[in-house]
């Protein structure tokens, strides 16, 4: 009993029910904050996974495309003008389309994002694509993303067992030659990669229109300077971005075009608020039911600071008590969520420390509010 920490702990732990309720409040808050932030980050990480696989120096889009995943088509010939410029080494056209995949096992239909790539070297790195390119060049053959949602059927498992997998995409029979690993996003449930020839069989369209252009510059050329020059050269019919700008462009779309920031931010705030209210309620009741005793402590020579510290220490004890089981539970939720959604859910050190900071802040806020009641403890009134 030499330190106020011991007193704080004894006050908190005297009623086990109260201690459990308060701790549970913090656990729920930690869980909500970690899970919501996890989803928010997963949404960003997953949406940027494909853009980060681009090895080109410049990316070309239609000015009407809000994001590469829902593109507006533009004329291939505009992209093919670029190699005439001395800074440009080569260009590549990419086709994108949302196809209807019929799961051959349960006959359900899903939307799948289909990429049409070149048969040669690609400036979009898709693991396993080059190895399978001979098969992919056959008519109606595709490379399936094994990280697509499970609703597409056990494609990877069947292939691993040596079975032949034929599916239907846009009412055409497609044979899956192999699997790659890319990952899905909140908006895209699955990915399929085919050659441009096969793509045009699946998606009949106005000849010569493409969705995305990739540009490799000659060695030593500064991408930003080349971008400026090409923009001046081509006008505003195409949006030309450096790779870094393209990633920023996609991020900006997520920030503004999709309400994920708001939804998951709100979820995090709700977690914070629930924890705040529960801890505040518990501490407030502790303070107000002990006012005469606290006034007595003041009378016999304890300072206001001592009592404030006591309440603060109680809130910090709750923060730590709730944080540890909260992170363990969150880890479990991350595992389940990653399995169910195929989103990249990683409990990073950065997120763990941010949420610890948020939890401590939450508890300190609760304590600060509960303490206001302490001023009502007047030692002159207890005689």
């Amino acid at each position: 009993m030499r330190s106020s920490w011991q007193v704080a702990w004894k006050q908190l732990s005297h009623s086990k029910v109260k201690l459990i309720v308060a701790t549970a409040g913090v656990v729920v808050a930690v869980l909500l904050m970690l899970v919501q932030l996890g989803f928010l980050n997963a949404a960003y990480d997953s949406s940027l996974a494909v853009p980060k696989r681009i090895t080109a120096d410049l990316v070309v889009l239609s000015p009407q495309s809000p994001t590469f995943a829902t593109p507006t088509q533009f004329a291939r010939r505009m992209l093919y003008r670029l190699p005439a410029h001395p800074a440009v080494a080569e260009v590549q056209a990419i086709y994108l389309g949302t196809g209807r995949w019929k799961n051959p096992w349960d006959k359900s239909e899903r939307q799948i994002l289909v990429y049409g790539l070149g048969a040669g070297e690609n400036m979009l790195q898709i693991p396993g694509y080059t190895d399978a390119v001979h098969q992919l060049q056959q008519p109606d053959v595709g490379l399936f993303d094994r990280r697509s949602r499970p609703t597409f059927g056990p494609v990877a498992d069947s292939l691993a067992k040596g079975e032949r997998v034929d599916v239907e995409v846009n009412r055409r029979k497609i044979t899956i030659a192999a699997c790659t690993e890319i990952g899905v996003t909140l908006g895209v449930d699955g990915n399929l990669f085919v050659t441009d020839t096969n793509f045009l069989r699946l998606f009949p369209r106005i000849p010569g229109s493409i969705d995305l252009g990739l540009v490799r510059l000659k060695p030593g050329v500064d991408p930003a300077a080349a971008r400026d020059e090409l923009v001046r050269w081509c006008g505003t019919d195409m949006r030309i971005l450096t790779k870094a700008e393209f990633i920023a462009f996609e991020k900006h779309f997520l920030d503004t075009g999709a309400p994920i920031n708001f939804i998951f931010g709100l979820g995090t705030a709700v977690g914070f608020f629930i924890g705040f209210v529960i801890v505040y309620q518990i501490l407030y009741t502790e303070v107000s039911t002990h006012l005469p005793q606290f006034a007595t402590l003041k009378a016999i020579g304890f300072t206001d600071n001592y009592l404030l510290r006591l309440v603060m220490q109680e809130s910090l004890i709750l923060a730590v008590l709730g944080y540890l089981p909260g992170t363990v539970l969150s880890w479990c939720v991350y595992q389940i969520a990653a399995r169910e959604t195929q989103l990249p859910m990683a409990l990073t050190m950065f997120r763990l420390t941010s949420v610890l900071g948020l939890t401590i802040t939450m508890c300190i806020f609760s304590a600060a509010m509960a303490m206001r009641k302490l001023r009502a403890a007047d030692p002159a009134d207890i005689f």
Binding site: R2, S4, K10, H290, P292, Q293, L297, T303, P379, F383
Partner: protein, 237 residues
């Protein structure tokens, strides 16, 4: 019992022309008028008088729980007219308070309630303070109840824990407000005798408010109050 009061020493409490009123302006109501008395080291002084005569108010002033506005009040060498809040807190740590309501912390055992007061005396080592806590609880007859929580103690036992808490810091002055009011006559008598014994052993002075006629004989001096004034000092010896 030899009870020694040193009236030649400096008084521990010196009250001079003390007046006090509650409220301000039109609502101002004077409660104490021209109070004069001293308390010497080791002395037991009782404060009696009808309800509302201002006894508790005197105790709160002497205990540094209210600010002195008119008159002089010096307690344990601190002039309360000029003392800062920090000075008052420091002086209060040298005073043992016994309240009518024991106000023990329900989440601490008897031992911890007493030990907590030792946090105000960091100069005492942990070992010594543990010894003192046990010793005092033994003296107040709670040897077998040290680890009981207040909820499991009787009213008299709780009051005795409160007395142990007031005395564990070896205060030079003990202020007690009707410490026997909540007790039956037997435990009341015990508590007062206990206080008397502790005063003798440690040489603490005691200023105690009481209505209880049965305890008047422990006093070195009785101060009778009426309508905010001291009626007339009666010496009992």
């Amino acid at each position: 019992m030899i009870h020694c009061v040193n009236r030649t020493a400096e008084p521990i409490v010196n009250v001079n022309h003390l007046a006090f009123s509650f409220g301000e302006g039109d609502l101002c109501k004077q409660i104490l008028f021209d109070i004069n008395f001293n308390v010497f080291p080791g002395e037991i002084v009782l404060l009696t008088g009808p309800s509302g005569s201002g006894k508790t108010t005197i105790l709160t002033l002497v205990g540094g729980l209210r600010h002195v506005k008119t008159g002089e009040l010096t307690v344990l060498g601190t002039d309360f007219r000029t003392a800062s809040v920090a000075d008052l807190v420091r002086t209060r740590r040298q005073i043992g308070f016994i309240f009518q309501a024991h106000n023990l912390l329900d989440f601490l055992s008897a031992r911890d309630n007493v030990a907590m007061a030792m946090q105000l005396h960091p100069e005492v080592t942990a070992t010594e303070s543990r010894e003192r806590v046990s010793e005092l609880l033994e003296m107040v007859g709670l040897k077998d109840r040290m680890d009981y929580y207040p909820a499991k103690l009787s009213g008299g036992q709780r009051q005795r824990v409160a007395i142990a808490r007031a005395l564990v810091g070896r205060p030079q002055l003990v202020l007690a407000d009707e410490p026997t009011a909540a007790l039956d006559s037997h435990s009341g008598r015990e508590v007062v005798e206990l206080l008397q014994r502790l005063a003798t052993d440690h040489g603490s002075a005691i200023l105690m408010v009481t209505h209880d006629n049965r305890v008047l004989n422990v006093a070195d001096r009785i101060i009778e109050m009426e309508d905010g004034r001291i009626k007339q000092p009666v010496n009992s010896l």
